[in-house]
Symmetry: C2
Amino acid sequence: MDADIITIGDEILIGQIIDTNSAWIAQKLNAEGINIRQITSISDHPEHIIAALKDSGEKSSLVLITGGLGPTRDDLTKSALCTYFGTHLVENPEVLEHITQLLTPRGISINSLNREQALVPEKATVLHNKLGTAPGLWFSEKGKIYVFMPGVPFEMKYLVDNEVIPRVRKLFNTPVILHRTVLTQGLAESTLAEKIEVWEDNLPESLKLAYLPSPQNVRLRLTARGENEDKLLKLLDQKIKALNELIPENIFGYDDDTMAGNVGKLLYNNGQTLSVAESCTGGNIAHFLTLNPGSSAYFKGGIVAYSNELKVKLLGVNPHLIAENGAVSKEVAEAMALGARQAMNTDYSIATTGIAGPDGGTEEKPVGTIWIAIAGPNTLISKRFTFANNRERTIIRSTQTALNLLRLELLKSSSKGK
Amino acid sequence: MDADIITIGDEILIGQIIDTNSAWIAQKLNAEGINIRQITSISDHPEHIIAALKDSGEKSSLVLITGGLGPTRDDLTKSALCTYFGTHLVENPEVLEHITQLLTPRGISINSLNREQALVPEKATVLHNKLGTAPGLWFSEKGKIYVFMPGVPFEMKYLVDNEVIPRVRKLFNTPVILHRTVLTQGLAESTLAEKIEVWEDNLPESLKLAYLPSPQNVRLRLTARGENEDKLLKLLDQKIKALNELIPENIFGYDDDTMAGNVGKLLYNNGQTLSVAESCTGGNIAHFLTLNPGSSAYFKGGIVAYSNELKVKLLGVNPHLIAENGAVSKEVAEAMALGARQAMNTDYSIATTGIAGPDGGTEEKPVGTIWIAIAGPNTLISKRFTFANNRERTIIRSTQTALNLLRLELLKSSSKGK
């Protein structure tokens, strides 16, 4: 069964915001076995809205629309809906009551903009939006379903999870589609493709492989389609096991795993703690680690020693090391890691020092040169990397690479302990 | 003049990756006075590609297509192109030579996948992709222009900037469209709308206003359209000046400004330095600050004191303060700020301590409770905030709110000094 997603709003067309809603909705519907045929972003001109509804309604059974509803600009969308579905606006007392209840405790008084949000097309089923003032609208028209939701992500997500998915499950009967994504680090797309070529060529008809490269890693997505969920799951497990034997060091996780999250799990399971000493990554390793709920169980803290003065003062780096080798060097990276481990009293530590750019490079140490060191109970390693001349990407790649180095160390030390 | 953007690839339709390319292209074309009519994401099925090319080619003069070209999956796209444009593939010696030159120094040997990338449709003008192996392809067909580019963002961006925009400028004659975005912090969308209602109602025909809310702020986008660039610029300046008088404390920047970048500029201009002491924000304030090139001129470093032990050891917080008031308190936030300023020897410091969640909340201090403190040469302030129960959003909002508090302090102290 096919679905279309339409996002309404000039902000996407002029590139002011990135459409993250569509990806989120697509994932949710896929998990329900619904295939997304097309995602379309359009302006809020009524004639464009109507043309898009017509096109999607002809080709898909379910059309999900976000945006164009909200306190400041929902008039155009609603009048387009009324034209398309041949209906008119009526005030909905439950919606008005809900808006009042939502805004009053925040000290906001109802204004005419809020009041207009309580006007809904008469033919629509109103979907209760617990988290916001604009309700969702559900239309069933000539065998097709159209669902309108506000564009604010957390309101849209609430509506999809609590109002849309339960209704869709009741209405449609769908095939089994399973996705599994294998997360790899440290291999370029074409090198990876060559390493796994034979494995890939022997995948059965029911499995489809896609390469998804990004600055920090290459993800491999396997899609299984069929009738029997157990059989598909077994097939996926078997193929992924074989893949693991081909590139054991490069696979760091699956699906929604993150490098920082998986490093955290290893530390948590070992009952070990971590600290970081960051120069060029500027706090991003600490940030990635602390995005994970419960990270305080293993992450004690970090020192962002952006200036050399603080490398000496807070991490105990010998100033002669900096004078002799430069701040971006094996010696300083290792001294930072040892200093962090001691200052913050942890089992492991990560240190980074490098030239994120755009300035500061030399011939010997061009922009993108990064030293990463890992210190642990029985280990001190360091490694030099050269990333591209793009500040943000270098910060992200350095972060991921540093965490992967720690991950491999943690795996090594656990297997030694066994 | 209208343009369409088409992105090809299942990874967007199944929600695996977020389409950031389209927003970037849209911004670039807008700056050239080209209006984006529609953005469409489709699968790599040849019939879907052909249908989308047909639809966009009928409605817009320029169609930009990304994705579907790359070492592992460009066959389908290229064969669809050949069908649509009535042409066939030929090996392009320059492209093959470029691929060889690109991969050899990386120690990668040319394989059959790479070699296939040197096959291009005979009718196409090849756009040289300096940064990658897949070339761009430019078709001029029945008065319409179609441009195919790889989906890897930095390769696509290189092609747009260096190959596409210069050609588009030569070919098309376009009206003047100017965008100015006003960045606000600290007001909800509907409150903001009410505060500026009269100003908004008096905007002339040639100006269009849009509200763009996000978790950390509400942006106001003004779009001016006309013939005379100077007149439009003057009109925009005048209206934005009037807006500034209505909400002076809430406007922190314009267009691509970031809160962290603007705080950095103020510090730089004052010749002052900053350090941070982060608990709940976990390194994100340091990360936002160090994303800015040149931040080492004013940002000396930070201490992520995630554990209470490190709040005491590295920031000199009196353990009795933590025992008596809890780590999330006015007293501890202020002690952290004072400790950071002293330990890192800076003019200003920011401290955060809070409950980012999802666990750890109490009735008195629910999840989302954050204390922020700012210490400076003549100032020590602190403020309590309550954000929503969403870990990532709370981290981002705390970061932005803390930086805005510092910004207002910096402005206050500069105006005192005058």
